[in-house]
Amino acid sequence: MTGTRSRRRPPEGATLAPTGQGAGRLLVAVYGVFAISATARAGVQLATQFDEAPVAYLLSAVAAAVYVVATLALARDNRRLAWAAIGLELVGVLAVGAASVFDVAAFPDETVWSGFGRGYGYVPLVLPFVGLAWLVRTGRARRG
């Protein structure tokens, strides 16, 4: 452990571990899978059956955009954008998860975040926590 560690900003001249390398590749791959599947799902829903559940399908599109941005931000080591996208993802999965439980009528069809990601093995619920933990971990200044 380094003795003097600033929580918010690394000391002058220190380098941060890139978010998209090492084990971060894994995170980028999982985010990429969700980005592609959510985008494809939202595209199909919006194109073919928008009238059936506009709220749910628009939220699907928002979720897809969040996953795409998070994937790119992690891969390109854009730390600030990654914080924003993954933070939004966490809020989204919690809010939509809760809303889909309490207001079933607005969600006749599933979205990625419905029931806290039930349809996707709850991975959407776990993923933002892993993502934020990774950002914290790589955000600490490297030794040496």
């Binding site: 390398q21 590749r25 894994l26 791959a29 999982v30 199909v44």
Partner: protein
């Protein structure tokens, strides 16, 4: 699950376990894994073609856009994962390949559900 889809799913799970093990061993992706990727991709491609033919001649109510999309994704995943793994000069190439190999069985299960109109 059709027997073919089940066998392919199990094979992909084995590939995922193999790749996960090599990640834990801190080793890079190996030739055997790439060979397995190639063989599985060919089998998945054959399954996709069979699926498209079945879809064309069948009169069941199948969400065809989703069905075709899942088939194409299932075929593409392993090659993409393998290319990524080759380019990654660390153990995490194996990790990425494991993720790709884990997603394929999920797609296969969904494909069968879509075919059954669920």
């Amino acid at each position: 699950m059709t027997p073919v889809a089940s066998a392919l799913g199990v094979a992909c799970l084995l590939l995922a376990a193999w790749s996960g093990l090599r990640t834990a061993q801190d080793r890079r992706v190996g030739g055997g894994q790439l060979l397995a990727c190639a063989a599985l991709t060919l089998a998945l491609l054959a399954q996709a073609v069979a699926g498209f033919v079945a879809l064309a001649v069948s009169d069941r109510a199948v969400d065809s856009v989703t069905f075709v999309g899942y088939h194409l994704t299932a075929v593409a995943l392993l090659p993409v994962g393998a290319l990524w793994a080759i380019g990654e000069r660390s153990r995490w190439g194996n990790g990425v390949l494991a993720v790709a190999a884990l997603v394929v069985p999920v797609l296969l299960v969904r494909l069968v559900q879509v075919w059954d109109g669920r």
